[in-house]
């Protein structure tokens, strides 16, 4: 079941990524792909977050699916789109990724590990009701912020 879900999601991501590539953008493909990765985090977090904030009714199946998606996203091999030479130092406004993410002492990998652990904990309680999701969402959001703080420039 989990395997099927992984397959389905990988297909979706591949489709999203290739649409983006085929969209005629002259953009750097690594930047397009990592933004797509981030947008799918955001998409699933929105489903869960709106339930927690009371903007949407709690739906156990939808919550579980969104949380599972977040887990799977953290397990994808992202090495082909986080590559040196594709930061705002080289590409300017096209990307908000700061060079520090690829420099020695970068903590990005560690933070990625924290996010993975936080999403697993979230998926473990996603079917248990909205009161259970709220507290589990905290560490997820904190991991997103932990990486955006040093490695993503504020909007221009």
């Amino acid at each position: 079941m989990k395997f099927l879900l992984t397959l389905a999601l990988s297909a979706t991501i591949a489709a999203t990524a290739s649409t983006a590539f085929a969209g005629g953008h002259d953009g750097n493909p690594a930047v397009t792909a990592r933004k797509a990765h981030m947008q799918i985090y955001q998409h699933n977090l929105t489903i869960l977050g709106n339930m927690v904030r009371g903007n949407a009714d709690y739906d156990a199946a939808a919550a579980q699916a969104a949380a599972d998606n977040m887990v799977i996203l953290t397990t994808l091999n992202q090495s082909t789109y986080w590559i040196p030479g594709t930061t705002n130092a080289e590409l300017g406004d096209e990307t908000r990724t700061l060079p520090a993410i690829f420099e020695s002492g970068s903590t990005a990998r560690e933070i990625g590990g924290q996010l993975a652990a936080a999403t697993v904990a979230l998926a473990a309680v996603a079917s248990d009701g909205v009161e259970a999701i709220g507290p589990a969402l905290g560490p997820v959001g904190a991991s997103c912020t932990a990486c955006h703080r040093p490695y993503r420039i504020s909007r221009n």
């Binding site: 002492g105 997103c144 990486c147 703080r149 420039i153 909007r155």
Partner: protein, 290 residues
Amino acid sequence: MRRLLIITAFGAIATLAGGLWVTRPLTVDADTVSAIEGNAAAGEMVFALGSCASCHTSPDGDKAVLAGGREFTTDFGTFVAPNISPDMLNGIGNWSQVDFFNALRQGTSPDGKHYFPAFPYASYARMTDTDVANLWAYMATLPSSDQPSQSHRLTFPFNMRAGVGVWKALYFRTAFVQPAGDTERGRYLAEAIGHCAECHTPRTALGGLQNNRWMAGAPDPSGKGKTPGLSPAQLKWSADDIAYYLETGLTPDFDSAGGGMAAVIEGTSKLPPEDRAAIAAYIKALPATE
């Protein structure tokens, strides 16, 4: 050209200012201040919302030790945050409570010199006696570091502390900027401890906040990118959205905060919910500037 003019003017004024009465470093009333009894537990919140740690921890050291060493590159040169841990020799462990009040309230050092406004005392100066004393009591409980403070690397004439007296005469005002409305608590948290305007308000060429464009967004003090404008003409979030962001770092469309704002949220996430709601109400009540 404009920069050259500024430098010349600043240099000339700074030279003069050394001897001028209006630009001398001021001090607080020592008798009143030394009598105040601080509460360390209550000071933890002030420390968190003031995000003192975001500037004063060492860039590669322990997150709990205020060893200093972080660098801030500005148009005037590079500032290096000093060690403000309770170490007797290299920190501020030998300071009196009066010294601490002078630093936060007047931007004046124990040896009677001006501090540079890269230390955002112009906002902290609005703090109540109680909160400054509580903060001082809390900071005494933090671990020490014997790492010596480093000198700033500033270009002439900005390396002259006397010149800061001119800056103070022009811009250092401890009155609140916005009317209180029904958000007096929110205004206090935002304009004093939270020092929101230090990042969100654009500055004049000499580094003073442009009060007529309060919170209208500005070049990010980190030198990278911009801070967003928060006036109602710019930010369409509800008060609930703002309070939720200050609690979780999550925007209404579930992106997460980054840059300098992450440190602020570390502080606001520790506030009681009614304080976050008060800050949100203050933001919603700002005048609509662009």
